[in-house]
């Protein structure tokens, strides 16, 4: 099991955002988490690499409990790639430098090797010719693909995507989803929080539906989208799929 979550609880003040969440993600599995805004899906994603500290429960990544703050946590995060809604590329560095930084500083890779890997990855996500530019000069879709390349440069065991297309113009969503679909096809273990139902149906091995901080329903995508078992999921799908 690549990710194992048991009895996860998280509060923001008085607000109980995650309610006894259990989740297993197998090696090579693509799990897409969907649900209405405020259902806790992003928080769940951010708890997996401890960008949010859970209040109770346990999280194991590849059999190892996620450590408290410190070097051990940094080591674990190096193996868990993350892609954010707002890309979060380092604004003062070129796209190439963004991809090279962590392999050099965290893994101790030589500059030459880091650059070779970075260029390969930028080519793989289709933005090789943007390598020397500052992130702000790129379109949103290009920035998000650069951010995916940056995460992949660490050769992570698992990739977390926190609403990776929610900040993009509609015509750029496709290019990012294509890269993600390619990754999924290559066998990457992925947890994807998204509102893209088409992607969920196409690329997911399993869909997890969350509402009110709980996992309400989980299932194989075709079964889930064609005949959801819970009223809440049926309601949600009726709203998002009608237009």
């Amino acid at each position: 099991m690549m990710i194992r979550v048991r009895g996860l609880n998280k509060w923001f003040g008085d607000h109980h955002v995650l309610h006894d969440v259990d989740l297993d993600v197998a090696r090579g599995e693509v799990v897409v988490v969907i649900g209405p805004s405020g259902s806790g899906k992003s928080t769940l994603c951010r708890c997996l690499n401890r960008l949010e500290a859970a209040d109770s429960g346990e999280i194991l990544i590849d059999g190892v409990p996620v450590p408290e703050e410190g070097r051990a946590l940094a080591r674990l995060r190096a193996d868990v790639g993350m892609v954010f809604q707002n890309f979060n590329l380092f604004q003062h560095k070129t796209v190439l430098e963004n991809v090279m930084l962590a392999p050099m500083k965290v893994r101790g890779v030589s500059r030459a090797e880091a650059e070779r890997t970075a260029r390969e990855l930028l080519a793989r996500v289709g933005i090789a010719e943007q390598a020397g530019k500052q992130p702000a000069r790129l379109s949103g879709g290009q920035q998000q693909r650069a951010a995916i390349a940056r995460a992949l440069a660490m050769r992570p065991k698992v990739m977390l995507f926190d609403e990776p297309t929610s900040a993009l113009d509609p015509e750029m969503i496709g290019e990012v989803l294509d890269v993600m679909t390619g990754l999924a096809a290559d066998g990457m273990t992925m947890v994807v929080v998204t509102h893209e139902m088409g992607f969920a149906r196409r690329a997911a091995d399993r869909v997890v539906f969350m509402d009110g901080g709980r996992i309400v329903e989980t299932g194989e995508p075709n079964a889930f989208f064609d005949s959801p078992r819970t009223d809440r999921a049926r309601d949600f799908l009726a709203k998002v799929l009608t237009h």
Partner: protein, 214 residues
């Protein structure tokens, strides 16, 4: 006017001391500021508290009081150092608190996502600060730090009060001989103004060169 030109060598010597004090204490203040801001935005509660107290104490005491305390108090407890050295260290520690606060406002101006992305990649807190946060923070506070440099230059004149013969003290000595305060202090003032103008020019250039597209 001749009062000024007859004593150029003494005044020049004073200006050299002022410049030396300015450069060395500014370098020290930058180091102090970086250490304090790293403690203050870091995850360790004790260090945050120490840094906060440091900034509050040094910002809330007049520099002159600190200088007098150090020059006359430290020898009492067996710490002897040259007058100029003592003054430089005190100014560096004092201005370091201001640099730390300027840097902290720069750190706060960087979106939280930058630090999250750095940590998510496996960078330690120190690495995130060094490679991602501070380089961006510095760019946003070039102008305030330039202002602190100018204030520091002016503040070196307080060392005159504890016996360091820098530009202001040299001008004062010349005036005691010549009793011509207007040309002598206008001359000294122009020298300070020239240093400040250079600092303003350099910060302006730096700010344009370091500008980051957002």
């Amino acid at each position: 006017m001749s009062a000024l030109f007859d004593h150029l060598p003494e005044l020049w010597q004073g200006l050299v001391v002022t410049l030396q004090m300015t450069v060395v204490s500014f370098a020290g203040a930058v180091v102090v500021g970086l250490v304090i801001v790293a403690m203050r935005v870091g995850p360790v509660p004790v260090l945050r508290a120490v840094a906060t107290v440091y900034v509050e104490v040094l910002q809330n005491l007049p520099l002159l009081v600190l200088l007098v305390l150090a020059v006359f108090g430290l020898p009492e407890i067996g710490l002897e150092a040259g007058l100029t050295t003592t003054a430089v260290v005190v100014i560096a520690l004092y201005e370091g608190a201001y640099i730390a606060e300027a840097l902290r406002s720069g750190v706060n101006a960087i979106s939280a996502g930058q630090g999250e992305a750095a940590r998510a990649l496996g960078l330690t807190f120190g690495q995130s600060l060094r490679h991602v946060i501070l380089p961006q923070a510095l760019r946003t506070v070039v102008q305030p730090i330039g202002n602190i440099f100018i204030a520091l230059t002016m503040n070196t004149s307080l060392a005159a009060a504890v016996g360091v013969v820098e530009l202001t003290a040299a001008a004062n000595r010349v005036n005691l001989l010549e009793a011509q305060p207007i040309p002598i202090f206008v001359g000294a003032g122009l020298a300070y103004a020239a240093i400040a103008a250079c600092a303003g020019f350099v910060t302006g250039r730096l700010e344009r060169r370091l500008a980051v597209a957002r």
